[in-house]
Subunit: 353 residues, 5 copies
Amino acid sequence: MSNHKNISKKAGLPPGSLIYIGKQKQGKTKITLTDYDKHQFTIEECQHISDTFSYKNKHSVSWINIDGLHDTDMIFQIGNHFELHPLVLEDILNTKHRPKVEDFGHYLFLSVKMLSIHPTKKSITIEQVSFVLGKHWLITFQERQGDTFDIIRKRLADNTGKMRQLKEDYLFYRLLDTIVDHYFFIIEYFSEATEKLEEKILSYPDDKTLYDIQLLKKNLVQFRKSVVPLRELITSVQKDAPHFITENTNRYLHDVYEHIIHINESIEIQKDLLSSLMDLYMTGISNKMNQVMQVLTIIATIFIPLSFIAGVYGMNFDHMPELHWKYGYHAVWILMLGILITMLVYFKRKKWL
Amino acid sequence: MSNHKNISKKAGLPPGSLIYIGKQKQGKTKITLTDYDKHQFTIEECQHISDTFSYKNKHSVSWINIDGLHDTDMIFQIGNHFELHPLVLEDILNTKHRPKVEDFGHYLFLSVKMLSIHPTKKSITIEQVSFVLGKHWLITFQERQGDTFDIIRKRLADNTGKMRQLKEDYLFYRLLDTIVDHYFFIIEYFSEATEKLEEKILSYPDDKTLYDIQLLKKNLVQFRKSVVPLRELITSVQKDAPHFITENTNRYLHDVYEHIIHINESIEIQKDLLSSLMDLYMTGISNKMNQVMQVLTIIATIFIPLSFIAGVYGMNFDHMPELHWKYGYHAVWILMLGILITMLVYFKRKKWL
Amino acid sequence: MSNHKNISKKAGLPPGSLIYIGKQKQGKTKITLTDYDKHQFTIEECQHISDTFSYKNKHSVSWINIDGLHDTDMIFQIGNHFELHPLVLEDILNTKHRPKVEDFGHYLFLSVKMLSIHPTKKSITIEQVSFVLGKHWLITFQERQGDTFDIIRKRLADNTGKMRQLKEDYLFYRLLDTIVDHYFFIIEYFSEATEKLEEKILSYPDDKTLYDIQLLKKNLVQFRKSVVPLRELITSVQKDAPHFITENTNRYLHDVYEHIIHINESIEIQKDLLSSLMDLYMTGISNKMNQVMQVLTIIATIFIPLSFIAGVYGMNFDHMPELHWKYGYHAVWILMLGILITMLVYFKRKKWL
Amino acid sequence: MSNHKNISKKAGLPPGSLIYIGKQKQGKTKITLTDYDKHQFTIEECQHISDTFSYKNKHSVSWINIDGLHDTDMIFQIGNHFELHPLVLEDILNTKHRPKVEDFGHYLFLSVKMLSIHPTKKSITIEQVSFVLGKHWLITFQERQGDTFDIIRKRLADNTGKMRQLKEDYLFYRLLDTIVDHYFFIIEYFSEATEKLEEKILSYPDDKTLYDIQLLKKNLVQFRKSVVPLRELITSVQKDAPHFITENTNRYLHDVYEHIIHINESIEIQKDLLSSLMDLYMTGISNKMNQVMQVLTIIATIFIPLSFIAGVYGMNFDHMPELHWKYGYHAVWILMLGILITMLVYFKRKKWL
Amino acid sequence: MSNHKNISKKAGLPPGSLIYIGKQKQGKTKITLTDYDKHQFTIEECQHISDTFSYKNKHSVSWINIDGLHDTDMIFQIGNHFELHPLVLEDILNTKHRPKVEDFGHYLFLSVKMLSIHPTKKSITIEQVSFVLGKHWLITFQERQGDTFDIIRKRLADNTGKMRQLKEDYLFYRLLDTIVDHYFFIIEYFSEATEKLEEKILSYPDDKTLYDIQLLKKNLVQFRKSVVPLRELITSVQKDAPHFITENTNRYLHDVYEHIIHINESIEIQKDLLSSLMDLYMTGISNKMNQVMQVLTIIATIFIPLSFIAGVYGMNFDHMPELHWKYGYHAVWILMLGILITMLVYFKRKKWL
């Protein structure tokens, strides 16, 4: 929720000011260069960004992956060498903005959100991944080192499937597809969390439950914000950029598009379910109060009249004939039992017992 | 709700990976081949999928129906012989995705959901049915063996109506129409269930009712998810695929389209009704609590003052002249009866009695 | 609400199966033939449908009105003679579907709902009216005999206005206009019913009120379902069918279109009002409970402390000096009156009295 | 709310039937003729409508204003002379319909609602104003005599501004603008009324408040209904009628359009505010009940245990040693004070005091 | 909320009447002239508006900034010299209207809202900023003197970045961007305020909280009203005005556009959060009342039966054998302790303790 704090730091600065918005990190940025075509495959970790520059004009597919964005100087050098617009560099670093696509003629820029669930704490982390897709090269920027793309590198290394035969646009699709596939995990997480909450509300709701619903709702809002713009984005990639994406890859992108729609629908359903959980919770509380009230009413309604009778015969008048009857005391007990039984029958009929 | 668990299994795999998402089933897949034209009609159950391959280029209408999707190897062979795109095969097997249509030039792919209600348990099962419509042939894929399409086969065998005169596009329409017609049963089920719940809420709501509303709501969401995309789908079939669908069949498809709109409207109405049931339920609970409160108030308001009076004359002061009057005790009873009657009149006027 | 039961009867049947969905009725179907031009006017009740067939090619305006749809054989004969598409015949008989328009080249098909309020029971009945508009002829189908169109026949007979000078498209407009004008009665009914309910809720809401709101809501949903599609329908008639509708009649149709919009807006307003009635009702119940609680609280808060004091001086301790004071009893009364007055002042200040 | 009663009177009548829907009024209709160009300015009250007929073909701008619509005969004469379509005459008289625009080739018809607040009673009255804009002439119809347009007549008479230099389209714009400007008064009224209600709800809500919210809501619905169609109307005037409206006046009309949007937005905001007032009211009631409950709980929770103790020592057992202790009575008082203090501390900690 | 009061002052006045709507201010209007090109940079505070007139036709970029709008005479002179349309002057002064853009051929008019938060009082002030963008000149109008644009002047003076190389359209973009960037501060303020309120509601809600939610809601509505129209506005600037905005600046404007979308999304999220805060608050109150009820029920349910027993043995019957048993008193205490323990166990099981 405190995302905006960092963005507002930049107010008034000229566009293209290279300031990394996000948790400032130290240590070295990891640069991984993967280069392949039908015949060969190389992967290496570069020490300096300039090591990758020669790959710009090679005819093989060159994929430069940058992990870590705090080295704004390096980003600037990449921008210089690959002739990127200042606004692109700004968008790569400004990791709090919404997903975005823009066609710059000789390259295509796309930024999306990668979401992952912390395995134990069950909290969601959002990371921005930016793609710059040129002719024969693809640069990807990640905020953190992670293993999401390792499966792709392994497939390239093993040369399984037809990936090495295809171009950088197919690699771009595969990376994007991997990110979108991860969204299904998030949906799953929400789906399970909602079901658990529902069970809890239907059995025994407490104050913590309310807090949990609210938290889940806020997380879902974050998720939604990351996913909703993708629909329009992929349509835009498909329509406006035929010179980056081949006909063949386009069909695959359409598949990603349908996944996005599926995920969007699931998010809307989760949102509705959460709203109805809130209703369920409020009804549960009302039911509980009703139960409390019934217990109070039953006890009070039975004993208040009985106490009154006892009170009557505790009065100290000189002339109270009942007090002197031999079976007065027993008669009073019979009267009180009669009232008790009448009450119980009444409550039984009202289904309060 | 746990649909996504299976989909997320696939994250990171290349597109077109043939993994059957759904309950893994054993036993043989049933292959039914129906072949007909104006002059002849054959129906046979094939032992092996390759028995059907020769029908691909025949000029009669050949309908291959596959019941059961766990034999991914067979699906792969069909894909190979009929030159289907890897993504189509993936979509046939991935039975958790939303309904979908895609035109691949020499064939049209469409997947929809078939819904049925379990006759005794009154639960809804959702099954995916995929159609691949080519020139002179139609392949349909179902998850389970079922009798939904038997009525069509019978009509073909009996040669009633003009079905045998017409082409594979009309068969395709008839199968689709049969599936859509079944949705009316589901609407009926919801309509009846909602009415029963409403009656129950207006007579005597309990905790179980809340659970039932919530369950019905979730089932309706599932139904909606299956039906809503069809509107767009059929429009898409009509517009983009004139070479698969004749002018004549198109008019019939328009009829299916209007059924879909009718069903969609009915779903929205059911959704509204379920929401207002929730409101009714909450109001019912409030009414009940109100009733409980009134009983408590009437009893307490009458007897607390009376008990106070009895308490006063139970005090042990030496000098309490009333205690020694001859008719003191009777006077107190008259006072108490007076208060009682006043109270009852007051409650009557307040319409609490 | 049980509309769908009848529709689902048809699942699996071929399109164009002539089954009358609706309450099966016996007795003769009434066929009224009206034929007119500038110079003449004939009206007659036909014994057999074939009596009307010769009018198909006459240049005067021929209006065939069919009251009662259970004679499917007759419908089939009409379809045959006037060359109607099987789906049109199906739509005429399937009276539970939504309003619909379709242009078949040599005729235009339109089905709408006619609503009427039962004068005493104040319930709404919905009846389907279908129009088939050809060149020089118009066929109308009604479910029941009714007097709605009598006013038009009278105007034709009296030759008031310019109706006899104009063609079948103007007749078609006048009949449609009559149906739409009747919707204003329905709006009026809802408007009055809502106002009555509001008054009742603001004066004294009871359980019956809740039931009435729910009933009105469901009736409004039915009304809405019948009217909403008309907007699109009339636009469609105006746009797609210039060869059925003259420029002059088109302007009148536009007037009908604006009536439909007016009615739609009124329905939305009624819907909002009914929702806010539900809110009012719930608030009314809360207010009532509040009032009950206040009475209870006032009584209990005043007498519980007083009873305590009485209880204290009812204790049997040997050494209780107050009991033996000469004015002890009077002092206690003064104390209790003091507490009573303090309480009353407090409640006055809290505005509970 | 009872608007529809009058409209439904007309059901079945032919279009163009001249029936004045509205409160039937007696007395003479006021006809004001204003005629001007750069050089001259005349204003006169005509005795008979035929006095204005000669102005139809004059090249100066002729503005005929009719106050009062019950003289349907006169309306018919105007229609005849100025060649107005029967539907236009019907729309002028049918003052309950929604705002409307229609281009009839040689004239433009526009009807809008003029709203005013009764200065003392603070109720809103809605009046229909119809414009018929021809070449060199403008006819306006009002339901009642009013002073709304006097400011325009005064400006024309004084010849301030450039109004006399411009044509009838500018006069039309100025009159329309005057009506729209009055809507701001209505918004102001709602805004103030809402604020007053909010203050009342936050200080001390009562039953009257609920009624006031409901009334304001219904008035806002009426206002909304009058204003919403104007957006589309003015766009339609601008687009379809370039031969009535000059380029210059069009820019001014755009200004009116933006006022309408502003007013629409304000209405939506008022609607939201009224909804949240309802929520506030319900929360206020809950808060109040909570407060009532707390008082009851505090009193009951303190005195019920104390009364119990007093009750124990009021028992008449022969062997109750405490009764005979010298300081028994004092000990009981100390015990009771101890309980009292404990309770008070508990309530303090719970923040109930 | 009382915005409309000022607007309605103008009802009936001719368009272009120069009346400053806003808080009438005294003192001198501040005129700042900034003139620059690649080679030079001048900034000066002008005494009289006519000092700036010579800059209209200079080829360098001339930026005239006016702080304070109460000197309508001066506005009139600017309008005269720069040939502005009367409606533009009216819009500059009418600071209560919604943001607006209009292309007048030789200049472009745009008005937006600048929002700022008072550093200590934490209230939002809204100020209108109007831009008139011509060829080689830009005039900006502000309601108050402020330091928002100082950062731009400093950058121009320091000649950092490429600003001095570019034209007036880039300056226009930079000023607009600065205003939009400030919106992020407002979002941040709302985000923080909402979070604080949420914490308070989850810990201890009181009456003040309700008032705070309502206030925040109303402020958000104001904010939304200022921002929502910008989306359409910037699209309109980009599309319709290619002769004012170069291709290069257009890309930057697209960036502003995306910021606006981001802010709009954030506003919607805040709106949702505020609604759910209201729900949380109501649930919190229900929970609290539930707690109060439970305490009351526990105390009453335990002590009412005990008091009854004490009352029974306080009766004065002559024949009550229990009273004369030696251990009667102890037996009663044991009975009462038994009841107490039973009750406590029951409440424990019900989880009320």
